[in-house]
């Protein structure tokens, strides 16, 4: 809010921007078909590869990474708990169940329709999670993520059972495990809606910071708390449903990035939102590039790489917190 208190130095900003730019270029350059960036302008085939595959893939990673990191930040604000995110608290699982059901009932439905149904299911699932989380004793902060994991597990199990019955387990895997290898021009553009959601989050950034102070502090400062909770739920659900439907869920981005940014810069969302978005984009992009290189020329899905990397970061955060308190 107050500019002088929280503007991180220009140098950190420049370094972060350069880092993201390097990842962007790397992501364009790395892949099975050789595509020397220097020849892009002279070689029409290379240009075609860039525009149809590499650039969409890179943009998809950036959009979903930034979106999921912001979704995690909002979810943590709503639950007033640092250890929840869409992938571990039922949002992603609800979206997966929703898209599975619409695929079963209306196999011919277009992707936007399926995404919409997934978003509705995510909204319902997350609302139930939040209503329960608000009833848990605040003195036991680990109950909220634990409840979320169990709750998400139950919904995920229901989705698995339904998929198994309908012989759709392979489809389910596409939604539950993020993978950018199938991203082509014309098949990822819905993800731009995630950018719109991030812009809305930017618009209400101060309100999000105040909401993290609690319901009473929010009302005292004239914020319509119930309305803001609804807006937050919609943002989280839409972003998650987009990720699930277009590229598959990517775990831990929403957990790791907001926590690291909070540790480094605090929780004034107006000042940190850009960093959370950039951090999410960078982390997902880096994991996707790693997934393309580890078993080159074969690929490891980004969801798997992030499961390992994010899990390690999450454990580190938990233990650091213990040492800190």
């Amino acid at each position: 809010m107050s500019a002088r208190a929280l503007q991180p130095s220009l140098r950190t900003g420049t370094i972060a921007g350069l880092g993201l730019a390097v990842l962007f270029v790397l992501s364009l350059a790395v892949g099975v078909s050789p595509m020397p960036l220097g020849r892009v302008l002279s070689d029409p085939e290379a240009l075609q590869l860039l525009l149809v595959s590499r650039l969409p893939r890179t943009l998809a990673a950036i959009l979903s990474g930034a979106g999921l990191a912001i979704a995690g930040l909002i979810m943590q604000t709503l639950a007033r708990n640092r250890f929840v995110e869409p992938a571990t608290a039922g949002t992603a699982q609800s979206a997966e169940l929703g898209i599975l059901l619409v695929t079963l009932l209306f196999p011919a439905a277009a992707l936007p329709v399926k995404t919409l149904v997934a978003g509705g299911a995510a909204l319902l699932g997350t609302s139930i999670f939040l209503a329960t989380a608000h009833r848990l004793p605040p003195a036991q902060p680990f109950l909220v993520p634990l409840f979320g994991i169990v709750y998400g597990g139950v919904i995920g199990a229901a989705a698995t059972y339904a998929a198994w019955q309908a012989d759709l387990l392979q489809f389910l895997a596409v939604w539950t495990n993020g993978d950018f290898s199938g991203v082509l021009r014309g098949r990822y553009e819905l993800l731009w809606i995630a950018a719109v959601m991030v812009a809305i989050a930017w618009f209400v950034a101060d309100r999000l910071t105040i909401m993290a102070l609690g319901r009473e502090a929010s009302i005292g400062l004239g914020i319509d708390y119930a309305r803001m909770v609804q807006i937050g739920l919609v943002l989280v659900s839409v972003i998650t449903a987009l990720a699930v439907a277009v590229v598959g869920m990517i775990p831990f981005v929403g957990l790791a990035v907001p926590n690291i940014v909070s540790r480094l810069m605090g929780d004034n969302v107006r000042g940190t939102l850009g960093w959370v978005a950039a951090g999410g984009a960078g982390l997902v992009l880096a994991c996707d590039i790693a997934g393309r290189l580890i078993r080159y020329p074969y690929e490891i899905p980004v969801g798997t790489v992030m499961g390992v990397v994010g899990g390690a970061i999450f454990l580190w955060l938990l233990f650091r917190r213990g040492a800190h308190a």
Partner: protein, 252 residues
Amino acid sequence: MIRIENVSFKHRTTPILTDVSLTIPKGGVVALIGPNGAGKSSLLSLVARLQPLQTGAIDIDGLPVDSTPGRELARVIAILRQDTTVASRLKVRELVGFGRFPHGRGRLTAADHAIIDAAIARFDLADLADRFIETLSGGQRQRALVAMAFAQGTDYLLLDEPLNNLDMYYARELMRSLRSIADGKGKTVVIVLHDINQASAHADRIVAMKGGRIVADGTPTEILTPETLEAVFGFNMRVETIEGKPFVLHQL
């Protein structure tokens, strides 16, 4: 003026407040006293629309608290609840700055910055302004929260046991600050106090509550008598007069 008319409030089936009516004119310091569970905090949160009214009516300067937009009320009345916890990593200056939110919706003007700086100076927070709240002691945190409520710049300020965690020096400083904003700026301060002698030394009026009702209402000299105090708190205590003010020796 705060008008509370025939307010009753129940938590499920337990009555918390029963037919409370109270008028607090503009300007001055009003202390709410009474034993634990008397309904003091509930009354404050109803006035500050933190809980919905069940029966009765409350208005502040003619604005009914249950139908006036929250944003408009936030420019008229500020509340600091008891035991407010700040789990966010915010710096003191940022937290105090959010007190200005109802005015600019997050956009801070030069005037806002001046008000924030004044609040920081008034509550002796200048050295702590760039520290994260979580690194402060309980008393320092309490002062930062009071400064935030003060920065909201409202005519009415409701404080629920703000002396919690404060040492004697800062408890006295806070009461003197409240006194001076009431005298100098014509603000109305309603404060829940357990230290009855702070009420005697700094309040214009004491309202005593017990069992969800108002049982006594008057100046410190009228209220702080052995008879009234025994009726409110249930035991006899000595009252001595020093410089014309009654002081209660409840420790004896």
